[in-house]
């Protein structure tokens, strides 16, 4: 789209669909859609950004793009860490944030039907105001980021022990296909109810894990859960091995744990704002410091139920020679002027400043993925060594998923995004960390940038990969949907 006449023509058509004020090709607007602003991934470039308000507008935009063979990139906040919505081949960014409504809450079947652009902040605020007895599974993401994008990219939720990845929390989808047709998958395909993806063929898989390369989701049914009283615990482990051993036992103890995640020492100190690298040993066990800081959340209808669960939890930890304390009692591990920061960890969505140390320069990217419980410890040490080799601080974060059926782990690197050399160093470091993680066998990168997606596919069964590509070609014959993402 280099010819001015084409730009004007497309602009006019887009304005006809969404209204003049919701389409832009001003460089000052487009700049903000070229980046995944916290990562080390290279920026891209788009030609237009457009903000539709309803499915019919999305349908018309996609129809236009397909006719003109212009790339279309679905977008909500752009900070998914993997750069999966950086426009790699120009075209139209479809910013879905005007489609941020909760359309229905079914209290009996415990689900909500939401629009595709809803953010965590909007969803949480809506439920708190209108349905305080119900809650959604929320990622440890900032409030301005997208709900449905996280779900379809296998985001890990604060109910991860209950239901697994965000994908498991999807009951149904309404999707605009690359040819402009609107389809529904799940129970909503054959009824007015969005209670689940059974019993018809589960077509949701055509849109889950594809990072927006097969269609634009305009509505979704998502599972809600009772908002029960909770207790949070900090579980300390001298080493990551010890902590993970406890977590494996807790996962099988039938305690009704809804979430189990953990940080290593370096990530903990980053959230505490410790600046002096000399004070942050990358191998803390050698300095006699614990390296495992678990956060375990238990819910229960009554205090008695919670007391009983607590007793068992404490017993399991002490039998392993480690300890657990109620979350509030652990507040002393934080500097006094950051106690408020500590307290936010039990409230999702989180604010980005709590995740890593932004005053180092606003950059942070992780390499991470799903992994067998058998490999999580080995993966941690391999990733840590890779980071140390590059002189970066190895911040690690992991989670037990779906009752302990699988795990996730990721290593984060903080860097100064205004320093191109440091950003490049972070990029090389992340690639090495990724390579090390893959050596454990069961690791598969999630939310992968193109280079990591290529690595995922290197190990994929050729027939399966061919099958996948045929499906993509069938759905998107002109290759307009989020191209350049490595598929």
């Amino acid at each position: 789209m280099t010819k001015l006449v084409e730009v004007d023509k497309i602009h006019e058509e887009l304005a006809g669909i969404v209204g003049e004020r919701f389409v832009s090709n001003r460089p000052e607007e487009l700049f903000l859609y070229h980046w995944d602003f916290v990562t080390a991934e290279e920026p891209g470039k788009c030609d237009f950004v457009v903000m539709p308000e309803k499915t019919e507008e999305v349908r018309k935009i996609v129809e236009l793009a397909n006719r003109e063979k212009i790339p279309v990139v679905p977008w909500i906040s752009g900070i998914n860490i993997g750069g999966v919505c950086i426009p790699r081949e120009g075209g139209i960014v479809v910013d879905l944030r005007r489609m941020n409504r909760v359309l229905e809450v079914n209290e009996d079947d415990m689900y909500a039907v939401v629009e595709g652009g809803i953010t965590w902040g909007d969803l949480k605020g809506y439920l708190l105001k209108n349905h305080p007895d119900l809650r959604a599974g929320i990622t440890w993401s900032p409030p301005g980021t997208g709900v449905i994008s996280a779900y379809i990219c296998y985001g890990m939720l604060d109910l991860g022990m209950v239901g697994g990845t965000g994908a498991e929390f999807i009951n149904g989808l309404e999707v605009v296909l690359p040819n402009g047709k609107v389809v529904r998958v799940g129970s909503c395909m054959a009824s007015d109810y969005w209670y689940g993806r059974q019993p018809l063929p589960d077509l949701a898989g055509l849109f889950i894990g594809w990072e927006g390369t097969t269609g634009i989701i305009t509505k979704a049914g998502i599972k809600l859960w009772p908002n029960l009283p909770r207790r949070d615990y900090i579980v300390l482990g001298k080493t990551v091995d010890a902590g993970i051993s406890i977590f494996k036992k807790l996962a099988k103890a039938g305690l009704g744990i809804v979430d189990m995640c953990f940080l290593n020492y370096v990530w903990l100190t980053a959230t505490q704002g410790v600046r002096d690298n000399e004070k942050i040993p990358s191998e803390p066990e050698k300095a006699g410091l614990p390296d495992f800081y678990g956060l375990v959340t238990v819910t229960g209808a009554t205090d008695k139920e919670l007391d009983a669960k607590e007793e068992t939890l404490m017993k399991i930890c002490s039998e392993q020679g480690e300890m657990a304390v109620r979350f509030g009692d652990a507040v002393g591990i934080y500097p006094e002027n950051q106690i408020g920061e500590f307290l936010t960890y039990t409230s999702t969505p989180i604010q980005l400043y709590t995740v890593w140390d932004f005053t180092r320069g606003g950059g942070g990217e992780w390499t991470g993925g799903y992994v067998s419980s058998k490999h999580i410890v080995e993966m941690y040490y391999k990733m840590r060594q890779a980071a140390i080799r590059h002189g970066m601080r190895p911040q690690f974060y992991g989670r037990v998923m779906f009752g302990g059926h699988y795990w996730i782990g990721r290593m984060n690197i903080s860097f100064n995004k205004n320093d191109s050399e440091e950003t490049e160093r972070a990029r090389r470091c992340l690639m090495d960390i990724d390579e090390e993680a893959r050596k454990v066998g069961s690791f598969i990168r999630y939310k992968p940038p193109p280079w990591a997606k290529a690595r995922n596919f290197e190990k994929a069964d050729p027939n399966s990969l061919e099958f996948m590509r045929k499906i993509k070609k069938l759905i998107d014959p002109n290759g307009i949907m989020n191209p350049g993402q490595g598929l």
Binding site: M51, W120, L128, P132, G144, I339, G340
Partner: protein, 427 residues
């Protein structure tokens, strides 16, 4: 305080409702970044890019996300109109990835500088200093020839010609005083700094304040040659003209030998109290106090009792310039609560979380749609409380809210706190 039902909800959600801060678990801001205020964009360039564009700045009531905070972003929707977007545009600018343009200037000026976003962002540098670089960016826009906006140029010319932005005659500035004008003393213990909006538009605020001060029997005067305080100039990046106004006003105040300056307008208050000294480095000896704070102090000292009942339900709108910018939240509320019969009810977004009226930062003149949009939303929020009167302590908020009320035929009365005080005084 929030309305009972909402307070109950907020308590249930967070267990921690802090008056003046809404729902917050973040009780302290880590003091890890210590910078000067009122500096140039260049000075802040190592802060702007630290923003992760996480969206926290778009919501009030942190961790509860119960309402939106940014009038500009909510109207225009594009990323560029929220704080996160503006931060990263300034990164683009200061790192050479973007160049100055009319469009960029329009984005940077399409903001009331209300500061609600910075209250919500808990990233230390941004929380404390984002308003500094948003203002500094406008100074840079002026320097580069992209600012101010055309309508702002028009009122600036009026300030240069007639010492007020309303294109009115300077010698008519005190017409609201009628024949009292001739009796104004040249020297007094206190100066009532009227401000352009009260002098030329919301004259009832000026006369009410004058009456209250007279009733108190205080030795005060109004300056014959008061000029615009400079607020509409400084927040549109026009430092030099604003500084000239400041120098003139300081000189005039000093001529009166006053030890106290009392303001009606929250914009004037911030200028006189802070900007003249901290930005323009002008030293002076007198104290500056906003009228409701002054009156409340006298009530506490027993020098004034409000006796005539006003049997009305009233809600209070926090002006950004005295609220978020200067930390005055409680005295106007306390004052209203001293009026017999008056029932004070709070809007959902109050104090630090208050939704801006939409007038400030040069917006009322240059972005009428934004000014009207913000005011309408505030009026609806006020009406939802069941209040019959929406009260404030700023004539510019009053003016914008009144305009939106008329435009949309909304059924709520708008009154300044000092008008209510005057009504309640024993005559």
């Amino acid at each position: 305080m929030a309305r009972p039902k909402e307070k109950e909800l907020l308590d249930k959600i967070m267990g921690k409702y802090i008056p003046g801060r809404g729902v917050t678990e973040k009780v302290t801001i880590p003091d890890r970044v210590s910078l000067e205020r009122y500096e140039s964009l260049e000075y802040y360039k190592d802060q702007v890019y630290r923003c992760g564009k996480c969206g926290q700045c778009r919501y009030t009531y942190q961790n509860a996300y119960l309402a939106r905070s940014c009038p500009s972003g909510e109207l225009r929707k594009f990323e560029s109109y929220y704080l996160g977007g503006r931060n990263l545009l300034l990164w683009g600018l200061t790192s050479g990835q973007l160049r100055w343009s009319d469009a960029l200037a329009e984005i940077l000026y399409h903001c009331t500088l209300c500061g609600n976003c910075t209250q919500q962002c808990q990233l230390e540098g941004i929380h404390t200093y984002a308003l500094e670089w948003l203002s500094a960016a406008r100074e840079k826009a002026v320097e580069e020839g992209y600012g101010p906006m055309p309508e702002q140029k028009r009122y600036t010319q009026s300030v240069l010609d007639e010492n007020n932005p309303y294109i009115e005659k300077h010698d008519e500035r005190l017409n609201w005083l009628g024949n009292k004008k001739a009796k104004l003393p040249k020297k007094a213990d206190a100066v009532y700094f009227v401000g352009c909006t009260s002098a030329y538009r919301q004259k009832k605020i000026a006369s009410s304040t004058f009456d209250v001060l007279s009733h108190l029997g205080k030795d005060f005067t109004v300056m014959q040659d008061e000029w615009c305080c400079g607020s509409p100039l400084i927040w549109t990046g026009q430092v030099e003209v604003a500084k000239k106004c400041a120098e003139h006003n300081i000189k005039e105040i000093e001529k009166t030998s006053a030890e106290l300056v009392i303001t009606s307008c929250s914009g004037c208050y911030r200028m006189l109290k802070e900007v003249y000294r901290d930005k323009f480095k002008i030293d002076y000896e007198f104290e500056v106090v906003h009228s409701p704070v002054y009156v409340m102090d006298l009530i506490k000292k027993g020098e004034l009792t409000l006796e005539k009942p006003i049997n009305k339900k009233v809600t209070y709108h926090d002006p950004c310039h005295i609220g978020r910018h200067m930390g005055i939240y409680e005295p106007p509320r306390e004052l209203l609560q001293r009026i017999p019969g008056l029932e004070l009810v709070e809007m959902f977004r109050n104090r630090h979380n208050a939704w801006c009226c939409g007038a400030g930062g040069g917006v009322k003149s240059s972005f009428k749609e934004l000014a009207s949009f913000a005011a309408q939303e505030r009026l609806q929020e006020a009406m939802a409380t069941g209040a019959e009167i929406l009260s404030s302590a700023c004539p510019f908020c009053y003016r914008n809210l009144s305009d939106a009320k008329e435009e949309n035929k909304m059924d709520i009365q708008i009154m300044d706190v000092m008008e209510l005080v005057q009504m309640s005084m024993k005559t």
